[in-house]
Symmetry: C2
Subunit: 205 residues, 2 copies
């Protein structure tokens, strides 16, 4: 019987994440988490002082991965072109490809799960989610500001909300994908965002 504290911790967190995405935080019990993780109650409360703390640490880990994913994808897009518009279009395409490769509907976004039960969480957690979402706004908006320097939009648009639209489409498409049980939804919606950006900024040939 060997012990691996980091593995135990991870098992608990992964089990909790899955359960929370299916049942929500309020609908997820500690007993259910430890059963799925295959650990004892003692182990759980050894690693986490409370269910609330688990909720906090879980979304913190999620936010870190999310921010990293955002940065990496944008970096990758920037390497593949010099033109800001092309970079942005590639950026969206990379997400689209990623989502198109999924066979099942995306399991869901922890931010959205928490937001839909926001009164169960304290302000620190809500602020963390807010700032994580703002990172998307900031990075995409900055890129959009580069874009408009050389590609005047065909119609007057607000760049901040246009930047937000990417995350809006992610979150909305996750919901529809889950409800309609259609895995392709997210990729399709990202494709529309891609087309929208093209129509707005690409010069006619």
């Amino acid at each position: 019987m060997k012990k691996d504290p980091t593995a135990t911790r991870t098992k608990i967190m992964n089990a909790a994440k899955t359960l929370i995405l299916d049942n929500g935080f309020g609908g997820t019990t500690v007993d259910a988490v430890i059963e799925r993780a295959g650990v004892s109650k003692g182990a759980f409360f050894h690693h986490f002082s409370s269910k609330a703390e688990l909720g906090h640490i879980l979304v913190k880990r999620y936010a870190e991965n999310d921010a990293q994913h955002l940065d990496e994808t944008l970096d990758k897009a920037e390497e593949l072109s010099d033109d800001p518009l092309q970079q942005l279009l590639i950026f969206v395409k990379l997400f689209e490809q990623e989502m198109r490769s999924l066979e099942d509907p995306f399991p869901g976004c922890l931010y959205a799960s928490y937001i839909h039960q926001s009164e169960l969480f304290d302000d620190r957690i809500k602020e963390l989610i807010r700032e994580s979402m703002l990172k998307w706004r900031i990075r995409v908006k900055a890129k959009l500001e580069e874009v408009v320097e050389n590609h005047p939009p065909k119609q007057e648009v607000d760049l901040e909300s246009l930047a937000d639209m990417l995350l809006v489409i992610f979150e909305g498409a996750f919901v529809l994908s889950q409800s309609l049980k259609e895995a392709k939804t997210v990729a399709q919606q990202l494709a529309h965002y891609h087309t929208y950006l093209q129509l707005l900024f690409e010069e006619k040939g």
Copy 2:
């Protein structure tokens, strides 16, 4: 102290709806509902055989209102123009105006709330939500098919997912609006959908 069963029932349902949108179904207790509604436990279980039944009836009422709202708004738009494209653009604008008139972030969508705790609900409820969402797809897609007859799209697009995009934007914008505490988000995002449709289908002057 006079009795009004319909009023009691409504008070319970409204209280439950608010609490569920804030805490989720799993995070909402019957005690919390009856306290907010100002009724006794006996009254609650006189009107609803279980918490689960309340959840079912609640989303049924919500779906009925939603379908009616969809129909009414589309009817209104169809009265204001003869051209399918203009009808569609007006349709979106009507929602945009409605959302712009809100001072606080929209309290949220019950469909999304349920979907984010889908394992707490039986298949009947999930099917009801699915069909409610498909109503949006069907009606908007039908209108889009009218549109393309006279207005060829500037880029090739899939009409079904373009129809879905309206609901996607609603759901996604609700999440961001709530998290960022910005009431204007939903209207702004609908405006982008409006612009996208214009760029896709409107002839250049």
